[in-house]
Symmetry: C2
Subunit: 357 residues, 2 copies
């Protein structure tokens, strides 16, 4: 019940241990096609180029940025926590001039703030924002933002690491051009892959690059020949085959439950937890809390690490501490995928009641 990895169901652990096929074996290519198709479904997109990057969520962030940005480009990043700052860091390493729009940690951005940002920095090629800030538990409303970004002629890039599979992520409806997530949060799969999706508009921008992406490993202009190659799959690198088995099973579980039913389960578990935490006198930090990650302030005078340790050793429950400016000041309680269950919520509340003075 920390900020991830979440609990991995037995079905997925069984799938990951299937015999390792060759990465060009027709059967494996079939599995990969099914995986890409399910990635499209959970992202609610028709984007042809939707695939799992062969690295963790941060490799997904880097894939988006190294492909869309060239040295000298301008970019806007909306920062309200750790992962917005990382976007800035990675964009800077891609040679971009980065304009930052910042609000205090825990807050989110209004549509007006997006509109102001694209007006203030009209030459930016890309605007990046985090949908679900794992460091603060804040959920950013993205509806209508794509239009604002597109009207300014920019690309819209989104971090959905802690939302995909737990909150609705509507890539096509929201006009998202490039998005990445991780497997180990609300998909309840082990970490190791990053599902990404690129819009046709993003692919056009990549086609118009003056120079190749600075990363060969993450270069979409090469990778697309493998992931959307039809019959003639070009070898690029050896895919992490067993991890793909796991992700394929995880996505199948998500779609069997149904996206809407799954989001509703996360919402209900969040409300149950929220009610219990408030009874214990604990206050949520963000205004607009994620269902999947619950970030509460540690009451004055309490040694937060000692309580986390007691939860782990006495009750076998892991929750997260604060990151960055929230270090020592916040607990982060994950209700992600398989972990978003009534039994878990009630056990944690009972354990917390015992541990709090």
């Amino acid at each position: 019940m920390g900020p991830g990895p979440s609990t991995v169901p037995a079905r997925i652990l069984k799938a990951i241990s299937s015999p390792t096929l060759g990465h060009l074996d027709p059967q494996y290519i079939g599995f990969m096609d099914e995986t890409c198709d399910m990635i499209r479904q959970v992202y609610r997109t028709e984007n042809a180029l939707s695939f799992p990057v062969s690295g963790t969520g941060m490799a997904g962030m880097e894939t988006i940025m190294v492909n869309l940005i060239e040295p000298g480009d301008e970019a806007i990043v909306m920062i309200n926590g750790v992962f917005g700052s990382r976007m800035k860091e990675i964009l800077t390493r891609c040679g971009a001039s980065v304009h930052v729009v910042e609000v205090p940690w825990g807050q989110t951005f209004t549509k007006q703030q997006f509109a102001d940002a694209v007006t203030q920095y009209p030459n930016a090629k890309l605007l990046g924002v985090v949908h679900a800030e794992t460091s603060t538990g804040a959920l950013q409303d993205l509806s209508g933002v794509g239009e604002i970004v597109h009207q300014a002629g920019m690309l819209f890039a989104v971090d959905a690491v802690t939302s995909l599979g737990g909150h609705d992520v509507r890539v096509d409806d929201w006009g998202i051009d490039a998005i990445y997530s991780g497997t180990q949060k609300c998909l309840s799969c082990p970490p190791g892959l990053s599902p990404v999706s690129f819009s046709p508009r993003a692919l056009e921008a990549i086609d118009q690059r003056k120079a190749p992406a600075q990363s060969w490993y993450l270069d979409v202009s090469l990778l697309k020949n493998y992931y959307t190659g039809g019959g003639g799959r070009a070898y690029h690198h050896t895919a992490p085959i067993n991890m793909v088995y796991a992700l394929r099973e995880a996505l199948a579980i998500v779609l069997e439950e149904g996206l809407d039913a799954r989001f509703e389960r996360h919402r209900k578990m969040h409300l149950l937890l929220r009610e219990g935490l408030q009874k214990l006198g604990l206050q949520y930090i963000p205004e607009n809390s994620l269902h999947t990650l619950n970030c509460v302030a540690v009451p004055e005078g309490i040694d937060e690490a000692a309580i986390r340790k007691r939860l782990l050793t006495e009750f076998d429950i892991e929750i997260g501490g604060g990151l960055g400016v929230f270090a020592g000041k916040a607990w982060r309680i994950g209700l992600m995928g398989e972990s978003a269950a009534e039994k878990n919520v009630l056990t944690l509340l009972a354990a917390l009641e015992k541990c709090l003075p």
Copy 2:
């Protein structure tokens, strides 16, 4: 029996399906420490910074290059196959001026050619070479090369993707400053991680960089805080936990067999295969063949793809076709890790005899 992935033993498939721990869980940190220690043993090195990169072998190549090279640096690459060319490609994307020393595919380099290279390009910061060229099956002798490279004040970078666990790789004895491999070849682990090792001399060069590495995901100056952090592990990215379970088990199996015994098994299986192939009239392409990958010329007038397909469908045996200039002209037969077994060699020889006209 292709060029990888090789057959994965049941013990490793069992390990990969163990419950997913948190990446900062003390038990997992212990597993990671054991894994890094075993990576040191198989590389025969004392290098403190030896760890599995969270990506496949090509991510390992990129990790070495993005950390050791800055825009404007010069580098030398010895090319005798596909993977030397990839080194050049990645170095170029790092902003290096790359000097190439090339011999025909299948050949290897003499010590004199290394000495001539560092004399001809004295300003290079790094010399890169492939120990085991997966595309040609050639084994490069590396003993004494490190001295030549160091005397010229350069760093020595090596690709050991198809040798580690099947041929002796002596990082310290051979003066290698940075090396990478993959898990899916002679370690017989699923693909998804890249064991790397950096010498103290390489770390010094990284400390003296003027600008950060262009990749954040692969930045060793950040990663070393996690992999050699002792008590206070800094969170960088979520490690691919189940893949690390698999690699830990794979390395344990290698060390249980013993490095020397394992190399001797690969040598014997290579000799058995070579004798049989020659009886069938097939000729090896490289002068100095790997034991782990056997590259033979397809006889005139034979449809090589049809024979590979028959081997796969009738006999359940996968072998590889040629890459690059060898496409359509070579077969590549892997004897890697678990796959280097007498039963496999004899079955393949019998099947080939049936398939050849």
